[in-house]
């Protein structure tokens, strides 16, 4: 529990550095802090499947982002601290403080951490093995009980790839 909190605070610090650093490249590398801390959090939260996927996806995300930045520019855009900027930042801060404050109130009305009651998941846990024959309950959920979602998920990835290839093709419109 303590480790979890420390790692999450580390993630928050990483997020601040990632957004505020003057060099975009170091911002992206700080994003790695969040991703890898998240991986350890997944292990602590007993989710090995997620940890395996997250650690590699994180690496690939970083590679993609770094490749993009190296091809273009790594300079952070110059900030002008005019009155408009300060007002905007202030409104954003107020909004976020309200958001966090109300979420504190809300969590008092939700179950405690680790004490959630099962409804749908009860059947997955109790009867996952006899019904599907898969020892890995996560695999049983994503590919049998909720396989339709996974079809959608694979389709999202497919869509993204077709989209990337469409956007990065050489010529968009035919010349008449």
């Amino acid at each position: 529990m303590t480790t979890l909190i420390i790692l999450t605070i580390l993630m928050i610090l990483g997020a601040v550095v990632a957004l505020e650093s003057k060099d975009v490249l170091s911002g992206i590398i700080s994003l790695g802090i969040i991703g890898f801390a998240l991986t350890i959090n997944f292990v602590l939260l007993k989710a090995p499947d997620l940890a395996i996927v997250q650690i590699i996806i994180e690496t690939l995300t970083l590679i993609i982002l770094i490749a993009a930045v190296l091809k273009t520019t790594r300079e952070e855009t110059a900030e002008k601290y005019g009155i408009k900027k300060i007002v905007l930042g202030f409104i954003g801060l107020v909004f976020i403080v309200v958001f966090i404050y109300s979420s504190i109130k809300v969590f008092n009305h939700l179950p405690e951490f680790g004490e959630q009651s099962l409804r749908m998941a009860k059947i997955y846990i109790d009867q996952g093995l006899p019904l599907t024959g898969a020892g890995n309950l996560v695999a049983a959920v994503i590919l049998d009980f909720r396989g339709y979602d996974t079809l959608g998920e694979a389709t999202v990835l497919f869509t993204a790839v077709v989209g990337v290839m469409a956007v990065l093709r050489k010529v968009g419109r035919k010349r008449s």
Binding site: V24, L50, A140, G163, V167
Partner: protein, 113 residues
């Protein structure tokens, strides 16, 4: 409860980045942070005190207390969706840089404001 609040704080930092930052790559970073925060939140929701990873082997009896596998399945999907969105955004950012030679939102016509 404190971990939930921390996850919410992480989420709002990402939101803040999107609202305030003026660099396309920084905006993408903000979006990625938000996605991570939501993934963390879902994993936290699925945790049960004293539970073990939801993998039954011949050594572990079926009666053991497992953590909830459903949020994990959701996070798995969300991670992949997040990667797809990020890749698409990055390819757009590269293309925009090619046209304008800058990542600055204020120098790009439509994105202003």
């Amino acid at each position: 409860m404190i971990v939930f609040i921390l996850a919410i704080i992480l989420f709002s930092i990402g939101l803040y980045g999107i609202l305030v930052k003026r660099n396309l790559i920084k905006m993408i970073i903000g979006l990625v942070i938000m996605e991570y925060a939501v993934n963390l939140m879902l994993a936290l929701v699925g945790f049960r005190t004293g539970g073990i990873a939801p993998i039954i082997t011949s050594e572990i009896p079926e009666a053991a207390k497992f953590v909830d596998p459903l949020p994990q399945a959701i996070v798995l999907t969300a991670i992949v969706i997040g990667l797809g969105t990020t890749a698409l955004l990055v390819s757009f950012a590269v293309r925009i840089h090619e046209k304008y030679d800058t990542f600055d939102v204020r120098k790009i016509r439509k994105l202003r404001g």
